[in-house]
């Protein structure tokens, strides 16, 4: 092989090595990114579920009924004023001092919403805040977790209670 050909071969081989290594790292990083560990959001969801069950088991000032019984009672009477009022009072008291001060509690039967009660700082406005370009300076990020539980109605209906909780992360 002539000296000129050898140098040409050297350059091509070097380019090939660089190309192969680059391609390899690209493939590995792409595949690796697909395998990034999952966030264990289930843990947070489980905490929300405990909050939801505690809420449903809590006795209200309405004739000593629990919240789950009051939901079933309100559904049978088709009057949700009392449950909305007492739910708001309960959750505002419980969550106001916490970092998780955004919440929505709603109930549904066969995908038909019965009522919902929410914190004054609604989830929709906080989602808008996240999209706000100035929000990058605040360093605040709100994580949402939700949980649901079935509660029986008086006539064996299956009412679903859903709690969505928004917590600030600094």
């Amino acid at each position: 092989m002539k000296k000129g050909q050898e140098e040409l071969m050297f350059v091509f081989s070097l380019i090939l090595i660089v190309l192969v290594l680059t391609l390899f790292f690209i493939v590995v990083s792409v595949v690796g990114n697909n395998r990034v560990e999952e966030k264990i959001t289930s843990m947070k969801s489980n905490e929300v579920n405990i909050d939801l069950l505690n809420y449903l088991k809590t006795k209200t000032s309405f004739n000593d009924l629990t919240f789950s019984e009051l939901i079933a009672y309100s559904y049978s009477k088709k009057d949700y004023n009392e449950i909305e009022k007492l739910t708001k009072k309960q959750f505002d008291k419980y969550y106001s001092q916490e970092t998780c001060n955004q919440w929505i509690l709603k109930a549904e039967v066969n995908n038909e919403e019965l009522f919902d009660s929410a914190s004054d700082f609604s989830l929709s406005s906080s989602i808008e805040n996240q999209r706000n370009p100035f929000s990058i300076f605040t360093k605040k990020k709100i994580n949402y977790a939700s949980s649901s539980a079935f509660i029986p109605g008086f006539n064996s209906e299956k009412i679903i209670a859903i709690l969505i909780l928004g917590c600030e992360n600094e």
Partner: protein
Amino acid sequence: MNKKGIFMPTLAIAILFILTYAFYVFVVKDPELNYEANIGQNVIELVDSYKKSENDLFYNEQAIKYSLIKATEKFANNGGVKEECNKVWVLNSINCSPNLEDNFEEILKQELTNYNLELQEFSMNDNIINIELSDNTYSSKKRNFEFRYTVKHEFKYDSLIDFGKINALKNSIESCPVDKRINQCLLEGSLEGSNTIYFTIENNKNTFTLSPLPEFKKINFKFGINNENRGEVKF
């Protein structure tokens, strides 16, 4: 071709081969590596099962409570016997015998079926009602991980009516000699009509009831017994 000239192409081909082989071995050949990367998957399944079991327990607890309320109202309205007996007890008869616990259990079984629940065990002790449903099992089987989580569905409730008092009355009626009229043995009954004496056991507490509509009221248990034809009493 001299050695110097062949070194770089050989190195390039060797690197290409080694990296291709490494990619094949670690990525293509062993797809289960993806499984290994799912950190916390097993814990998530375990936590989800626990969550589901807690929710099921809560649902069943409430469903039994409502079934008990409805069963108690029906039982009290029927005077502890079947509806066709018109609240009148006939001791040791086939249909109108006051087998209080059995009759109550029968009504409760029917009420529970409305919630797709099946009664496994039922017992009553000092106005405490013990109810047992079938156990719920939550399980998962995966590579290197398997769990089976069984939850017992046993519940205790206070009775809404005083079974102790009703049973005491029943024992007094049964022990009343046949040659005596019931109102000679027991003073608390009131004669209604020609020959039937009625007893009322009042629950002085306002109870949350469901029939016909949800409301708060006192559940009263009233039954009657014929003064002369009270049934065959064995002593």
